[in-house]
Structure formats: structure tokens, C-alpha cells
């Protein structure tokens, strides 16, 4: 199939749903956190705002210790990444390295702000008439307001939009397929603020220059479809369609969702924009709407606080920088048998050692699990090649073979086996009867691969430098040699010339003798 044909098919996105390979049907466990409507917890007194909350580089702080900041004031700047804003008005107490709620568990620079309780907003600059605003001004506004993908990958939204604009996007997909068990913040957002999502969808569509918007939701989300369809109708927007997809983990993965909606696969190493599509989370769309219409930067998000380790699981609208412990308190605290705290879902979430870490743009869920939920860690056994991992792999890899390549440091074959195509969904881990931490191996493998690529680059550079130097030396040597040769030649020529002159002088001096000699030389036979 040619790419043009694929793009043609991609325009049909959502008309018919398709399947992706593998995946798991997991228990949802979402209902427990959907009983209460979403509320804000009490205003926390101390907020910890990490300066790295998105995919990219750490933002540069724009404030100093002792500064007074206003709610929504920009406190971190990062070109070309997303900006960071103060979630409250108050005093900058410190700027120091703290655990920053990153899967790596690393500490990084965070701005500590003590709230003054006044909630004074900085001056907001909304775009009043967004329908007539240029796409570029919309994208700049999105960037200034620090919007990043709220689904978890936190890729800066403006960068995705700009890239999409350059690449002739026809379809914007809003991802509301929240496939991980327990997490329900997107579902609650779609239930409670469908208008905002539709508004965000329209703004993003304009910013991207897309023709249509497809909002994908799961078939288990009862009232959501109705709410969104009504909201779209209300907005008199016909180019927005809401599509229900079957709940199979990891359907909410960008590549899997595109496959479900179009039957097409994003080319390996490529991006959805290769097919003329851009994927954004529904919560990102809502944040875009707030940013453009109200001028509000991203300082708040919906977050699910759930699990059997929480007294009253629910969704909260939390300020970025709120510590998890504060959210848990707002949910009635832990139950007695809580054993593990996870940020994110049970499949892809990462465990945290302490609940003092802050909410960041990427945090969609705080999951407190009991010993019963997680069971004892099982001993790792050797792989018996049962192939279950390959059966469930949504990227149609052979995880057991890939694992073997990485274990044996066979990096070239690891790449052939699709190391970089792994989406780290954890399906293989979950079904492995030998309890091999496959995803950990793949993450390690990717890290090694990146390191090797960097080293290769460095080696390549060094090699080029060396070769250039050798070339240069050879050239100078040659040049010098030639110069010498020329000079020698010149000298020689000179000497010949001198000889000739001398000979001529001699000739002139003994004219008679010479002619006689030449005769005898010329004809020796006659002598």
C-alpha cells in the first residue's frame, strides 16, 4: 500500500473500528473512583513545582527565592519546551533539588512556593476571538500556557501542533480511551466538562488546520458518548465525531488507537503525522480551551486517587505541585493494609517510595494498593518460550527473543527484533509464567541503545576528525613534496641553464675546436 493510499484510508478514521494484535482484557476497577463528582481539595500550604514536567529539557527558573508570585505567573521558561507556572499566589521559599515525580525516580530542580491563601491571579491574556485568530497565535498561546500532553507522555502540545501544521494534517484524534485499570480522570472530565473538551477540539483543529476531529472513548463509559455528542451538537460542530472502541488494554496507546480507528499502522520509526493524523488527550484539549479562551495556564489537572488502599477513592482537581499525601488526606487517608503507592495505572505506573512527591502535568492517577492486590513477588524462572508474550504483544514483537538478545548484549539483532518498537505496555510482563521483568529489560535495552548511539556518534566524529587530520597532513606533505620537487627542478633547470650558458661561453671562446670535436664525435666510424 502506498503512503498516499494510506492517507486516503486514514481520512475514513472512525467510520469502522478495527483490531490490533494482542492486548489484554483486564478488570477495570474504575467504578470505585467515579461515585463522587470532582472537587478541589483544600488549598495546600506548600507546593513543590518541578521545573521538568514535560518531555524535553529542564525549564530555567524565572523567579528567585523570596520573590512573591501570583497564581498563573510564569516561573519557568524553556525554549522550545513548555513553560511552567505558579499554581498559587505566595512566596518562593526555595529552589532546590527534590524528587520530581518522574518515572526515573530522579531528583531535579523544583520551585517551592508557600501559598498566601489569597489566590491572586496574575494578569491573564486570553485570545478573545479565537475563531479569527491565526493558527500561529493560537500555537504561541498554547506554548505560553505550558500545555503538554496530559495522557502521560507530556509531549509539549505546541510542538506537536506546529509539526502537524507543517505536515498537512487532516484528522485530529482526541484520545479518551483510558485503557489502564483504575484510572478514571479522563472519563470524569468527559462527563463533567464535555463543552470544554469540544471547545478545545475546535481550537486545536484550527491550530492544526485539520478537517475533522474523532474523539475515541471506550465502550464501558456509559454516559460519556451522549455528553460529548450533545456538546458537539450544541457547538454546532459537524466535523466532530465520537467513536466508541472496545476496551482492550493498551487501546489508549497512540499507535494502537490509530490502528483501531483506521486499520492502518503508523510506519515504524515514523509518527502519526505520516498518515496525516495527530493524537491528543481529551484533557489536553480541555486545557487548550482554558488557555486560549480564558488565558489560564496549565496549573491544575484531574487526577484519580484510588485503589483498595484509599478510604474513599475519587477524582480530584489538583493544583500541580500538590503533594500526593495531601490528595490522599482529601480522600479520607489510607486504609490499614496499604502496601504500595503507584503513580499511574497498575500496568505502566511507577512505584514511589514516599507520598511526598508532587502532582505534575503527567500524573493522572495515584494508586494505593494493598498486599492482596499485588501479591508476593515471585521468583524469576528461566524462559520456557511458551510464546504468551508474543500472543499479547500489541507491537507484534517476540518479547522472549528480544529479551534473549538484550541479555546477551546482541544489540544489532535486538534492534532487528524491534527493541525500539516496544511501547512498554507491560502486557508481556503480566502474562509471563516465568515472571521475567521483560519491560525492565526492554527499558534497559533502550537506554543502552541510546548510549551506544551516542558513543557511535562520538566515535564517528572522532574518526572523521582523525581522517581529516590525516588528509590534511597528507595534503601538506604532498604539497611540500611538490614544492620541493618544483624547487629542485627549478634549481636543476637553473643548473642546466648555467651549464648551457657556460657551454655557450666555452663554445664562443673556442669556436674552432668545438666544431672539430663535434665532427669527430658525430662520425666516429670515419676516424
Amino acid at each position: 500500500m502506498t503512503l498516499a493510499h494510506q492517507i486516503e484510508l486514514a481520512r475514513e478514521a472512525g467510520k469502522r473500528t478495527h483490531h490490533f494484535h494482542g492486548g489484554l482484557r483486564l478488570r477495570h476497577n474504575k467504578k470505585i473512583s467515579c461515585q463522587d463528582s470532582v472537587e478541589r481539595p483544600l488549598l495546600p500550604t506548600l507546593l513543590i513545582v518541578p521545573l521538568l514536567q514535560h518531555a524535553g529539557d529542564v525549564a530555567k527558573p524565572l523567579v528567585e527565592v523570596g520573590d512573591h508570585v501570583l497564581k498563573g505567573q510564569k516561573i519557568g521558561q524553556c525554549q522550545p519546551c513548555a513553560a511552567v507556572h505558579s499554581p498559587v499566589s505566595g512566596l518562593v521559599e526555595a529552589i532546590e533539588d527534590r524528587p520530581m515525580s518522574h518515572p526515573s525516580g530522579q531528583a531535579g530542580p523544583c520551585v517551592l512556593i508557600r501559598s498566601d491563601g489569597k489566590e491572586q491571579w496574575a494578569k491573564l491574556r486570553p485570545i478573545g476571538d479565537w475563531c479569527n485568530a491565526s493558527a500561529e497565535s493560537l500555537i504561541t498561546q498554547i506554548q505560553d500556557c505550558g500545555i503538554a500532553g496530559l495522557g502521560g507522555a507530556v509531549f509539549p502540545t505546541h510542538a506537536k501542533a506546529r509539526d502537524g501544521r507543517d505536515r498537512q494534517i487532516h484528522t485530529l484524534i482526541l484520545n479518551g480511551a483510558e485503557c489502564e485499570p483504575y484510572i478514571s480522570c479522563d472519563e470524569m472530565l468527559m462527563r463533567e466538562q464535555p463543552d470544554k473538551i469540544i471547545l478545545g477540539a475546535r481550537i486545536l483543529r484550527r491550530a492544526l488546520g485539520a478537517e475533522q476531529v474523532v474523539i475515541a472513548i471506550e465502550d464501558q463509559m456509559g454516559a460519556v458518548q451522549e455528553a460529548l455528542t450533545q456538546a458537539a451538537k450544541h457547538a454546532e460542530c459537524k466535523s466532530i465525531s465520537v467513536v466508541k472502541v472496545t476496551t482492550i488494554y493498551p487501546e489508549g496507546g497512540e499507535r494502537q488507537l490509530i490502528q483501531v480507528l483506521t486499520g492502518l499502522e503508523v510506519p515504524s520509526g515514523g509518527r502519526p503525522s505520516d498518515l496525516g493524523m495527530v493524537c491528543q488527550n481529551v484533557a489536553t484539549a480541555a486545557a487548550v480551551a482554558e488557555a486560549v479562551v480564558e488565558g489560564k495556564p496549565l496549573i491544575e489537572r484531574y487526577i484519580t486517587v484510588t485503589g483498595n488502599g484509599i478510604s474513599h477513592p475519587r477524582n480530584l482537581q489538583a493544583l500541580l505541585g500538590t503533594r500526593f499525601s495531601h490528595l490522599v488526606e482529601a480522600c479520607g487517608g489510607y486504609t490499614l493494609d496499604v502496601a504500595r503507592l503507584v503513580v499511574g495505572g497498575p500496568m505502566m505506573g511507577y512505584p514511589v517510595a514516599s507520598d511526598s512527591a508532587p502532582v505534575v502535568k503527567a500524573s493522572n492517577c495515584v494508586l494505593a494498593l494493598t498486599q492482596q492486590d499485588i501479591a508476593e513477588p515471585q521468583p524469576e524462572m528461566p524462559c520456557i518460550r511458551c510464546g504468551e508474550c508474543a500472543r499479547v504483544c500489541p507491537a507484534t514483537l517476540l518479547p522472549q527473543q528480544l529479551h534473549l538478545q538484550i541479555k546477551n548484549d546482541l544489540w544489532n539483532t535486538a534492534e532487528e527484533y524491534g527493541l525500539l518498537a516496544c511501547i512498554e505496555c507491560g502486557c508481556c510482563d503480566f502474562v509471563c509464567p516465568s515472571h521475567i521483568p521483560l519491560v525492565d529489560w526492554f527499558r534497559y535495552g533502550k537506554g543502552e541503545q541510546r548510549k551506544r548511539a551516542r558513543e557511535n556518534e562520538a566515535t564517528e566524529l572522532a574518526r572523521k576528525r582523525f581522517e581529516n587530520r590525516e588528509d590534511r597532513l597528507l595534503r601538506t606533505k604532498q604539497e611540500r613534496g611538490e614544492k620541493m620537487k618544483r624547487r629542485k627542478q627549478a634549481l636543476k633547470d637553473n643548473a642546466v641553464q648555467q651549464d648551457r650558458i657556460r657551454a655557450a661561453i666555452d663554445r664562443a671562446e673556442n669556436k674552432g675546436d668545438i666544431s672539430g670535436t663535434s665532427q669527430s664525435v658525430g662520425k666516429p666510424d670515419d676516424a
Binding site: E265, V342, I374, P379, M381, L397, L398
Partner: protein, 343 residues
């Protein structure tokens, strides 16, 4: 107010299954077949299973100790028991006790642990053990007994024990009265001596398709195989390919010359074919990983079995077929890698 937690990698859910669980399911699936076996051929098979299991666990623990591996997780994974039971189901029910001992030494000691233990063996351990004793002790390995319905001297449990441990048959007439050629044996020798299949099949040892008794044992093994398919312990590709290739390959021969070629179904219901299709060729460790690879692997087992039965020196060739395909498995894997997403 903050609280600390122990961390551990994702997924944060209890594991669905374990190696021990998988092996146990295989053992459960063998129960109906074993039951049918002892129903038709007496209690000898149960003694053989126990013997093989004891030796297998003995050599497993010795090898683990010697290799400095922890005993508990590897003894508890039941993989050695599966090897032992599959081996016991392949040998004559009254074979002497030391047959199991030697076979398990080679199966567990050589084929499994010298290659690196669980998950590392290239060859199916049960088949290695079986082939070693089949080649080394052909007489003991061909002393098959007819089903109880045909036998004049049915052996009790005590008789079977005495026979297995002393080599003496405690009935009048000794070995000659209790053993009989199997269906596959008489077919092979019959055809070689120029008799017609219909003529050979008049012998009472033949049932509807295969040997009498044997075909019912095969049915019950197939039932266990369906259970494994349902539980998704095995994938359908291997059994379908084994049985399908045997039928497809033997059908033209049978159609061309029904006098010297048995009905394709006779091939299925004779010997160890059904057992192999569902339980032996499906061994994931020594088989292929991709679905396409499994189809090729299974077809290879079927074809080689048929070739050995038809032209080879042995009445049944399942074990050799499995071992030969084990050798080819890595190569098949190499050329049948599935297409990756987006590739």
C-alpha cells in the same frame, strides 16, 4: 505526615500464572489418557509413571545441586515430572525398571541440564531419553502387551511389579504368552512380506482404525489436548499441523494403492501420534516460537513420522521426528519472524 512505601517494578498486579501452573495443567490434561491406558493395558503404566517420576526428580535434584542452583523453585516447577510422565507413556508397560533409570539420566541429566536446565534444552528431554533406550535396548523396548480384552493372562498389580523389577513373568509360558506385536509392527512386517492391508487387518489386534485399545487411549489423549488448547497452554498450530500433514501425505498413497497402504486414519490412531501432536511436539522450549514456525514444525514432525513408518527401520518414528525437528527449530524461527507493527 508523609509515608514511605516499598517499591517494586510494574505491573502492579498479581501474576496470572507460573511455570509450575503451566506444567500442572499439562499433567492434568494427561490424566484421561493415562486412565484409559491402564484400563486397556493394566496397571503396569502406573508403575512406570511412578518409577520415571522418582528417577527424574532424583536426577533433577542431583544436577541442580551439582550446578549450584536452588532446589526448591526448580523441583517445584513440575517440569521434570512432565518429562517423566511423557516418557513413561512411550515405553512398554512392563519394561524393566532400569529402563526408566537410564532414560531419565539421559533426559534430565544430559538433554536438560547439560544444555543449561529448564528452558535451555534444544531437544525434547523425554524424547531423548526414549530414543536412547529404544536404540540401546531394542528387545526390552519392543515387548508390548496386547490389551486386556485380547490377553489370556491378565497381569495383576503384583504380577506387573514382579515383572518390572525382576524381569520374570509370573505366569505359565513367560514372556511369550504376554507380549504381542503392536498394530504398527504387524502392519510393517506384514506389508514387507507382501501381504495386503485388508488381510493384515483381520488380526484381532486391530480396532476400527488403529490398534484395538490404542485408538481409545489416543482419543482420551486428544481430549486432554483439547483441554490444553482451551486453557491456551498450547496453540492449535502444532497439533493441527502434525495431524493434518500425516493425513494429507498418506491420503494419496492410500488412494493409489489401498493394498499396501493403510487408511490415513490408521496412521493417526496408531502409536504415539496423538500423544505427540498434543503433548510432545507442543513442548514450547524445544519447538518454534512464531505461529508460522509452529505450523512448519508440526508439519515436519508429521511428515518425518510418516516417512519413518513407511520407509524407515522403525514401526513408529514420532520420537525421531520430534528430535529432528527440534534441530531445525532455531532455523525455522529465524525465517518465520512475524512482521512487527509498522514494519
Amino acid at each position: 505526615m508523609t509515608r514511605s512505601f516499598k517499591t517494586s517494578g510494574a505491573p502492579h498486579m498479581p501474576p496470572q500464572t507460573s511455570v509450575a501452573n503451566v506444567m500442572l495443567l499439562v499433567l492434568y490434561a494427561l490424566v484421561p489418557g493415562v486412565f484409559a491406558y491402564s484400563w486397556f493395558f493394566g496397571p503396569g503404566i502406573l508403575i512406570q509413571i511412578i518409577l520415571a517420576t522418582v528417577f527424574a526428580l532424583l536426577f533433577e535434584s542431583l544436577m541442580l545441586r551439582w550446578r549450584g542452583r536452588p532446589l526448591k523453585p526448580f523441583i517445584n516447577d513440575y517440569s521434570a515430572v512432565v518429562t517423566a510422565v511423557l516418557f513413561a507413556l512411550c515405553i512398554p508397560p512392563l519394561a524393566p525398571w532400569w529402563i526408566s533409570c537410564i532414560a531419565m539420566l539421559f533426559a534430565i541429566g544430559f538433554a536438560k541440564h547439560l544444555y543449561g536446565g529448564l528452558g535451555q534444552n534444544i531437544f525434547n528431554p523425554a524424547m531423548v531419553g526414549y530414543v536412547v533406550v529404544l536404540i540401546s535396548f531394542p528387545q526390552a523396548m519392543t515387548a508390548w502387551i496386547p490389551p486386556l480384552t485380547l490377553s489370556e493372562h491378565s497381569l495383576s498389580l503384583a504380577d506387573s511389579l514382579i515383572t518390572i523389577f525382576t524381569g520374570q513373568v509370573p505366569v505359565a509360558g513367560g514372556w511369550d504368552t504376554v507380549t504381542q506385536a503392536t498394530a504398527l509392527d504387524s502392519l510393517k512386517t506384514g506389508i514387507e512380506s507382501g501381504r495386503m492391508v485388508t488381510e493384515i487387518r483381520t488380526s484381532p489386534i486391530f480396532g476400527d482404525y488403529g490398534g484395538i485399545g490404542w485408538e481409545w487411549v489416543a482419543n482420551w489423549f486428544a481430549l486432554g489436548g483439547f483441554f490444553l488448547l482451551y486453557k491456551r497452554v498450547i496453540s492449535w498450530q502444532v497439533p493441527i499441523a502434525v495431524i493434518g500433514s500425516v493425513i494429507l501425505l498418506s491420503l494419496p498413497f492410500w488412494l493409489a494403492d489401498q493394498d499396501s497402504n493403510p487408511l490415513p486414519l490408521q496412521h493417526i490412531f496408531s502409536g504415539a501420534l496423538v500423544l505427540a501432536a498434543f503433548f510432545i511436539a507442543t513442548d514450547p522450549v524445544s519447538g518454534c516460537v512464531s505461529n508460522k514456525g509452529r505450523l512448519i514444525f508440526g508439519a515436519g514432525v508429521g511428515i518425518i513420522t510418516l516417512v519413518i513408518r513407511r520407509w524407515g527401520g522403525y514401526p513408529d518414528g514420532v520420537a525421531f521426528a520430534v528430535l529432528l525437528m527440534n534441530m531445525a527449530a532455531p532455523l525455522i524461527d529465524r525465517y518465520t519472524r512475524p512482521r512487527m507493527y509498522g514494519e
